[in-house]
């Protein structure tokens, strides 16, 4: 860490409740989390622990039932759906377990997609330039005109990472980024994320795999909607 501690994410008392089949599910029961710039945080926990809900909340895809959330200097939950979308497009990059690339769009077009939602800020040649820059960064420059169908799983995830980085976001959110990959490919993706972290990017990653979490600079564990610092007890012990 570079010692300059700047807070990127700060949540206080985040709660999230769902009504599911008449019963109320408490996905988050008051989460306080502070993430400094340049941190690589692994969120661990078993399925149903609330780790994905927390990640969606941080990624502004979901809203809390109660609590506060500051992303950099903005109190984000007071904003409208469209304003949240705008912030997502500028400040947050997503990497999903199942890649979520658009079929029939070439690799570079997938990477450029977030730039098209910047209100005409980027002309199409600038979109291409920026996308190509990111593709080269993840080692896929020669694959620019291929379609996702023609790529391997690891390559697809690299494209997704390039897409997440193309807007130069404040934080990269990765939800089980290696979940659909074999372990060798998973390691390649993790070393890519480590490189990106080493370059100063803030990363929050959800995983249930201890060996993946070891790439992170900090590990937190979700359990029954509560966040605790450190690795899960059953693994740590």
């Amino acid at each position: 860490m570079n010692g300059m501690s700047r807070v990127v994410i700060q949540t206080a008392g985040l709660r999230r409740e769902y009504a599911m089949g008449g019963a109320v599910v408490h996905a988050l029961r008051g989460v306080d989390l502070t993430v400094q710039a340049g941190e690589f945080l692994a969120l661990m926990g078993s399925s149903g622990s609330g780790k994905s809900t927390l990640l969606n909340m941080i990624g502004l895809l979901d809203r809390p039932t109660a609590g506060r959330y500051r992303l950099e200097d903005v109190e984000v939950f007071s904003l409208s759906r469209d304003d949240l979308a705008t912030i997502r497009g500028r400040r947050i990059g997503f990497v999903f377990q199942n890649f979520n690339l658009l079929p029939r769009y070439s690799t570079w077009e997938n990477v450029a997609l977030p730039l098209t939602y910047r209100g005409g800020e980027y002309r199409s040649e600038e979109q291409y330039k920026k996308a190509m820059q990111m593709l080269r960064r993840v080692g896929l420059g020669p694959r620019a005109v291929h379609q996702p169908m023609e790529l391997s799983g690891g390559e697809r995830q690299r494209v997704a990472i390039a897409r997440a980085l193309v807007t130069e976001p404040a934080v990269l959110l990765a939800d089980e980024p290696t979940g659909n990959l074999d372990s060798a490919t998973g390691k390649e993706i993790m070393s890519l994320l480590s490189e990106i972290h080493a370059e100063g990017k803030t990363i929050i990653m959800v995983t249930h795999d201890m060996s993946i979490a070891r790439y992170a600079s900090r590990v937190c564990t979700m359990r029954d909607g509560m966040l605790t610092e450190g690795e899960p007890a059953y693994v740590a012990g």
């Binding site: 469209d82 979308a85 997502r88």
Partner: protein, 430 residues
Amino acid sequence: MSLGDLLRTSLRGVSANKLRAVLTMLGIIIGVASVIAMLALGNGARAAVESRFRFLGANQVQISTQMAFDDDELVTAGKELTYEDGLLMPEEVELVDRIDMSISADAKARFGRATLGIRISGVTASAVETIISAGEVQPVNRPDGEVLTLDDYLADGRFFTFNEVLEQGPVCVLGSQTATDLFGGDNPIGQTIWVNRNRCEVIGVLSELEFIDESRRYQGNPNENLFMPISTVIQMFYEEEPSVMITAFVSDESRMDEAKDQIKSYLRARHDIQPDANGEYEDDFNLTTRKDILGAQQEAANTFSLLLAAMAIVSLIVGGIGIMNVMLVSVTERTREVGVRLAVGARSRDIILQFLLEAMLISIGGGVLGVAVGILSIPLAASLNSGIALLEPGSIPLALIVSIVVGILFGIYPALRAARLDPIEALRYE
């Protein structure tokens, strides 16, 4: 999203499934083609009426013998309309100040050694006025716009009188070319020529005439004419009294219905037609005015147009529902795509515009193809409407606007549905 990005995105959405897009367009194509054909019929009817007006002025009543079928044979329903019915009409009918009628016969005209095969026109004393009012020919070397009088049309002598027509006078008036053919350079006035085996005195020669509308000049030389009183022609060439068609000129255009009633009473009296038990007359003649033609033509066009309008509305609604259906399917199929777009910063209006534009591209595509099909179907529409259909230029932008409106109307709901998707659920959608 910039307009260029938006258009590219929507075009891709449509072209991802071309066959489906084209099939979806079908309803719009049929609807728009119907609109084009419908307006072409209306336009054609109007043009047809206008062209018929050239031959039937607003103050004219055309009177013809009523025909009827008798054992599949077309026969006169009662008495024939005779030239005498016409000749006496201006005297007897208050609102008719002039009539026009003609009959023709092929004959040989001879003077000295010159012999000429010619079509004889049997006309009334006001034939020259009729020529003037028809406005198709004018004396050569006369500037346009100058008001021409009877004298301008007569080169020499005079036209025949009412009495000469009444008394079957053996007189004739020659067209300028005919006069030259028979007499060379000599003065024909007062000379006697032979028409078949009848003697006939030349009393006048017309000026050299030309068609005003140059495109009609192929229709032959308007100066090869031999005019005789209609009564004389009938006496010379017809064994039985022939049917004639009479055009009556009404003195007051605003009293056409009254004039028609007067003509009816006059002809009923002459043809001895009595009312039946219900006070109805079974006339053996037909009266036609410009208003009648207009009405009949419009009625036919309106009936057909109504049919096409119904077809257009139904097709456009069905086409629109088809678009809505396909767009709903498309939104469902692409739920994940919507989720990704929302995750990378798309706002509601970006998603709405993307899917709305896709619906509009389909409907506009249908509109463009519909215009093409519509234009190609005009000859077909014409053949179903006695040959009258003419492309109405304004119908093309109208059809395109209609197809855009259909696209918006039926595309907005699927687009709104896409925009309201929950991003988390959309991203998880399988």
